[in-house]
Amino acid sequence: MGIHLQKVSFAYHIPKKRKSIIHFNLQDISIDIASQDEFIALVGHTGSGKSTLVQLFNALLLATRGSVQVGEYHLTKNPKFALKPIRKQVGLVFQFPEYQIFEETVEKDIMFGPKNFGLKHPDLIAKETAEIMNITPLLSKSPFNLSGGQMRKVAIAGILASNPDILVLDEPTSGLDPFAKNELLLFLKEQHEVYHKTIIIITHDMEVVSRFAHRVLVLKEGQLMYDGSKDNLFKNQEIIESCNLDYPETVRMMKYLKEMLHLPLDIYQYHLEDVFRELKAKVGDDHE
């Protein structure tokens, strides 16, 4: 189960002439993602192929070379089976909610996905999802009169309603105010912890990576540069610099304090409370 990519390459344009060089947008990527209990952040520069990669996960794009396996489905260049079940397993939320919202009311819009996948009682599912997402008061409203944050929640609810095992979100926090951003991320964390869903987030925000992700994938120019825990990523200065990544604020702060105070601090702390605890332990109470 889950998503397994083996030596996958992908090109948007395949030149007609046999011998001409193909420009690959993704090259030789091998990843294994479990269908449960993963929280993955996918980072990389603009144009590094992040969005392309996640579209391979639910068969919106098909690999040019290599093999992609989603659940029990082996995806080839011309799959002989319907792709719908794959899209039910892997839900992909795009960056801009206005690309998918179209119904008169929020409730009907959330029902659209479950109806397409032939789930029973779509109205009940919609109500349930709205409750989980904390948007019940919006159900009877028109989705076009909502604020940006609410719209994004509706869009996520529209995907979540089909109950995918793996939820992929393309920059879910861009354009949100800090409060809405935090709320959304905490919600995703809850989905991960309570319902054991695998969450994959594309993001530029290292705070999101440091606070929530367990595993980080780093893409650069279509190649997978790093796949592993966030601790190892932040310790690996070479990759951080070559991929134009940044340290999260807490790490930067600890780094600065370590240099200024010459203390043996463990700088890899991702929450403010941990920072405080670490400082307290190393510096002691008297310096407070």
Binding site: Y12, H13, Q55, N58, L60, A82, L83, K84, R87, K88, G91, L92, V93, F94, F96, E98, Y99, Q100, I101, F102, F112, G113, K115, N116, F117, F144, G158, I159, S162
Partner: protein
């Protein structure tokens, strides 16, 4: 991924026709297209065809491009020939008289052939028009050859000289017109064409039509086609993630799925339009106010030559028509 898409037929090359001012091309080619309706005889149209061929040869554009635009009209041409040749009446004796007999066997064979033609769609995709023409030919041939089985009906077709001449005239006219218009669109970028049209249509100000606004609208529309195609692809993907699949489902579901693509498309397009309007106003665009141009249109020596050639051609056509009824 669609950023490089160029709309219109423009074929990049560097010939003297490419380098002409778009206004020159629009006015001269329009004038020359008029001659297609001035010439009344086949010989005049043949002369015009020769001129077109010379222009095409010097335009450094592969002839295939012109054939492509002709192909779209192929069906129309075939029907015109068919009706003109077989159904027009002449004064003198018919040149050819053909008698056709419909018998059970030939009807059966023709129906069978038609069935084969539609079934063959899977295997032969190219050259279907040629195949259809061949089929029609075979169908008529069968009607003259098969003499067995009982006779259903018989009919005769008389082909007159007049029919042949009229069809030749119609074909030459259409081919000439298409070649001229393709010559314009193939050698001129859509933006240049738009600028040229704006400039040519300026006198319409007298009748209170604001040409510059129209031209701006056309150029924005051209500019936004690839952008909107990109947006449409995104919407398609976003809805595919929610289980939209055009391959399966009932008609009622399919209508709903089309709506799920159309509404976001409108929303996105309106949003883009609003953003663009604001961005234009922020940069001082006032509808209808006079604006300077980044690329001023400029007449060169060749333009004057082209104008004189065009008008001599038009004048000659009018003269020949009046003096010799060519």
């Amino acid at each position: 991924m669609n950023d490089k898409m160029i709309f219109g037929q423009y074929y990049h090359s560097d010939s003297w026709i490419h380098r002409l001012d778009p206004r020159t091309k629009i006015i001269t080619l329009f004038g020359m297209m008029l001659t297609a309706f001035i010439f009344a005889s086949v010989w005049g149209l043949v002369g015009m065809f020769v001129v077109v061929m010379i222009l095409i040869a010097t335009s450094k554009i592969p002839i295939g491009k012109f054939l492509q635009s002709l192909r779209m009209m192929a069906m129309l041409l075939v029907f015109t020939i068919f009706f003109q040749v077989f159904f027009s009446q002449g004064i003198g004796d018919p040149r050819v008289t053909l008698t056709f007999e419909l018998r059970w066997l030939s009807v059966g064979l023709i129906v069978g052939l038609l069935g084969l033609f539609f079934l063959s769609k899977k295997w032969f995709r190219k050259g279907r028009i040629l195949l259809l023409i061949a089929l029609v030919g075979v169908a008529f041939y069968l009607q003259t050859v098969i003499k067995t089985t009982s006779l259903l009906t018989a009919y005769t077709i008389r082909i007159y000289d007049e029919g042949l001449i009229t069809s030749a005239r119609v074909i030459l006219r259409i081919v000439n017109l298409i070649c001229f218009s393709s010559l314009l669109t193939l050698t001129t970028k859509p933006t240049d064409l738009n600028n040229g049209l704006e400039s040519v249509a300026k006198p319409l100000k007298v009748v209170k039509i604001n040409v510059s606004i129209m031209a701006m609208m056309i150029s924005i529309a051209l500019r936004f086609i690839p952008t909107l195609i990109n947006e449409a692809m995104r919407i398609l993907k976003a809805q595919a993630s929610r289980g939209v699949d055009f391959a399966e489902g009932k008609i009622k579901d399919k209508i709903m799925q089309i709506i799920s693509l159309l509404i976001p498309m409108f929303v996105v397009a309106y949003k883009r339009a609003e953003d663009l309007a604001n961005a234009m106003e922020a940069r001082g665009y006032i509808p209808g106010a006079p604006r300077s141009k980044i690329n001023e249109l400029l007449y060169r020596r060749n333009d004057i030559l082209a104008y004189s050639f065009g008008f001599i051609f038009l004048g000659l056509a009018i003269f020949l028509r009046i003096a010799y009824a060519i």
